[in-house]
Symmetry: C2
Subunit: 185 residues, 2 copies
Amino acid sequence: MSLRHVLLGLLSENPGHGYGLRKRIVHRLGHFRNINEGQLYTQLAKMEKEGLIEREVVVPEKGPARKQLHITPKGKQAFLDWLRSDQYEDDGVLYDFMQGYTFFSKVNFFQHLEPEEARDKVRSQISQMKDKKKAYEEILLQMERRNADPFRIRILTFGLKELENRIEWLADLEGDLVRQQKEAV
Amino acid sequence: MSLRHVLLGLLSENPGHGYGLRKRIVHRLGHFRNINEGQLYTQLAKMEKEGLIEREVVVPEKGPARKQLHITPKGKQAFLDWLRSDQYEDDGVLYDFMQGYTFFSKVNFFQHLEPEEARDKVRSQISQMKDKKKAYEEILLQMERRNADPFRIRILTFGLKELENRIEWLADLEGDLVRQQKEAV
DNA sequence: ATGGGCATGTAAGCGGTTACATGATTAT
DNA sequence: ATAATCATGTAACCGCTTACATGCCCAT
């Protein structure tokens, strides 16, 4: 999706300053480890130079100067053009689902691991995914309570289903690995 | 996962030359649009300099010279270290599932689109996903026929389930958008 | 003979990460 | 006091993409 389009989208909805946008991205796209400042401010500077956004320096009586960013009509148009285009709707990767769950990249090579080693990895994943599921359920509840955007609720609902599938799949895999282990004995 | 680890993994299984590795990556990771040559050969050169792989120039009577690549013990160890480590098992993104299906990045902003526009996008996605599903089913059948690595079969099975979920989810979304449209009339 | 597949590379550029630097405010 | 959070930036680096260059072999 590229940072640029997220920024354009968020600023289409509400103006804001850099640091605030960072938090909104974390909230919307779910990066736990802070989004990096480097790319943020450099991208914002670039977008300003291209006339997609404008900044207005706000100096409050208290607190550091904030640079309030507003989207320009040109920026709004660029955002809408991206949204309407086919761009990013097919990334040219047949097994795109693997990118969503990087653990697959290792499972792909599990034949190189002893069954117990693989099994431990799978077990650790199961507990991680269960934690994630709880986090999703809480977020979903909050979103429903505050009548959040239905499209975003839908997306989270998909995410929850996906996690359930992952857990189920991992459990099956664990079962297989345990069976393999017993056979070896 | 990074190209380096895929390369190390593939060369752990069988030696090969650059062009052949490219095809194996396409086969294994499913990049339709050719994997780019740039990164491939530069990465390979880097890995050789680091002593992870060795090359042996093979000049056949016919055809261009091939540079057969072999993994070194050091390379094999680096691969196993990666496989056993926790690296890449958690990418710090809460909504990681969104990365697997880039269409979500747009749905996130569907409130900015007219219901018919959104509906058309969803319909186009449904047909794309159905095509993908057929492709997966065929690949799975082939894998089972030639007794492919069970771990990889499992991964594909997950992918198929994922596609079914996407299609179901998209159909629900379409239904909502059609309803929204009728209400507007 | 022409285009497609095999085969190996180089160069420029871009988007993103890591790490560092600075300084103010707020909470404990 | 001091740690955390708010806030804005710069510099070096890295992985990957895009695009180009070269040349051989094979099928139509």
